[in-house]
Amino acid sequence: MRKLLVALISAALSLAAAATATAEPKQGGTLTFSYRIIAGHFNPAIASGTPTGIPGTQLFAALLRFDDQWNPQPYLAESWEISDDGRKVTVKLRDNARFHDGHPITSEDVKFSIETYQQQHPFKPMYAPVQSIDTPDPLTAVFNLSDPHPAILLAFSSQLGVIIPKHVYGDTDNIRKHPQNSQDVVGSGPFKLKEFKPGEYIIMERNDDYFLEGRPYLDRIVYKKISETTSRVISLEKNDVDMTAFESDAEFLNRLKKNGHLTLTPDGYSAIGPLEWLAFNTRNEPFDDKRVRQAFAYALDKEFIVNVLYGGYAQRSTGPIHPGSVFGPKDVNPYRLDLEKAKALLDEAGYKPDGDGIRVRTTLDFIPAGGAWKRKAEYVKAQLKKIGVDVTIKASADFRGWLKTVSNHEFDMTLDSVFNWGDPVIGVHRTYQSTNIRKGVPWHNTQQFQNAEVDAVMEQAGKELDQEKRKALYQEMQRLVVAEAPIAFLHTSPYHTVYNHERVGNPPVKSIWGVCSPWDEVYIK
């Protein structure tokens, strides 16, 4: 009887759930979003990063958008075509798209935008093969490429390829100092900038002339900076805030989970592809010996890190590409915890215990950004002690200090966090290419890893138009990198989007770009 009752209740519940799932989106309402930082400006063509990208993708539309299965969808572009040799990409614009000031969007704006990206954006490989852009008519843009470049479709989406108005930004000699990067922003996205108080909040209002009929549903987005995690948690619990993103603190996630009106989801982060790992400076002794690097990788209990240090909110990651990507690692060596093997490898490499039982003395840097990083550093130290490694933890005064130390190669080991940024060409190649060992630049090949075979496979994969062949090449690349172990791969960042499901319908998590995609389907129930 009881079982029947339970079954009935759950049937009723799933019916109710189905009813809400198919509920029609409603027009109107204000969504309050909170993030720990507010960027200084919202022009994604001159800066990447989520603080610019979240509001930037509401204010500016891009050529394409992606669903949660990595399929490109029309956005400003109605259609697109890659020529058989892969050297020509033709994009047709929709004819009803206008900027917030009423100017129509033309192929001239597309040309201007992508050229601005080429000059100003930190991610050079995105548009590096684009040699020229032709504009045969106002609605057609033709990209002439030096080489086939399959990554261009992902580069056309989210904050990596927004279209900015030439008639606004075209007259300046220094777009970085343009006042309309942060005030009176003219984009073509679903929302218009109403008010920006630097460091406090952004108010965005519905773009009534948005080119997608009937959208967006929200009248207004209030984007509030709340830097204290505790304060954000209380605001969510009290319904002062409807949604937050990039929440990563296990303790707070556990607390939020107890609230019946809140949903926590790890969806919407696969394109950003945030990975956390332990990197070795492969030019420093003893990490110039790959057996030492492998030994360290074997010595760490990745399951413990994920389940205990991160409360199960992170996901195990075993290679250079995020597990949520179509190119995610499949049959690479997972370096399952094996202390005996680790010790044997160190023996083999000639690092035998000295009188104090110590084989190697080395240092560890970590990102000075709160509890989890410090805890992880302490765990690494304690765990490596078990194989006779004495680790000195180096604490940087601030984030820039750490960034400087690592980008100048002044480290032995560091805990690091690197994002994939959509296509591997954009955010993965940079970490392993031997041509990308460049002192002073953050998040390049700071490991100073050099491997001709890896270079060659990446070169080939970056140009391969056949998706299946491309997948195989990236599997090959990852097998090679993981075997060489310039990095001990640990886990994904435990990012979660938290929203009040009693109020928010269609939260922006059903896209590979998550909150960095247009919120034109989000509505208030």
């Binding site: 991610f123 204290e228 505790t230």
Partner: protein
Amino acid sequence: MTVIVHRLLNAVGLLLAVVVFNFILLSMVPGDIADTLAGESGGASAEVMAEIRRTYGLDQPFHIQLATYVGKVARGDLGMSYYFNLPVSELILGRVAPTLLLVVTALVLAILIGTLFGVIASRKPNGAFSHFVTVLALVGFSAPVFWTAFLLIVLFVAMLEIMPLSGLVDPTTPRGTLAWYLDVLHHLFLPVLSLSSIYLAAYSRLARASMMDVLGSDFIRTARAKGLGETSVTCKHALRNAVIPVITIAGLQFSHIFSGAVVVETVFTWPGLGTLAFESILRGDTPAIMGILFFSAMIVIVVNLLTDLAYRIVDPRIRSARNA
């Protein structure tokens, strides 16, 4: 008159020293705005970083950068914030009002209530109220302000749910309306309570001790012997003398209170100078940090001058001694 001219010249020299010294100190910090922007962008290229450094003149030799900056400040130009791409003076002025609102309200409340508590307590030094003031002073002064702030949040925001958690005002309230001002007051309550708790403690203790000191002196006995009422003795004779240390401390603390406000502002995301200073330091926004340091140095100097004036008004002895 010459005293004032002398003091003004001193002030200008001091400000110049502050500017040069701060510039040198900040240039020693590892990393600059190009690193910050690269860090926030999640990646960078050498070309873009060089471009950013060129844009902000960071590719110039150090002495040129310093000379350019001092020259600008002398002309009243504090430069542009790297991060917000706005004039620093505009950025600071936008933040002064919220900070002054917070700090002045907290300080005035603390001085008034604290002195009142102190005076009442001093009339019966062993009475219950006096002990209460002592305990209050001990607790208020020893509790870290962020802890007090969080306790207040737990009580008023999480449990009673009658106070807003953060910010200056709900951004959706129409600006300039009565509702807007009331909302600001509503948002002001907890930050002011947190900030004044420390100072209230100090002032009540100070006023109590100072009053007891004065009440024991000869001229008070004379006043009582003349047959004056106790209220008149306390308020007219004793308080006027006892309040001098309170003014001294208030002057000193007014300049210090900005540092206390940093913590309170951060906890409540109060958009004041403290938050701006704290975040500018984290971002390596050198012009903004320099501007704030310059501004607070100016405040300290001005407040010291004002404190001096206040003494003269309250205490005729200082007036005549300094004029001589």
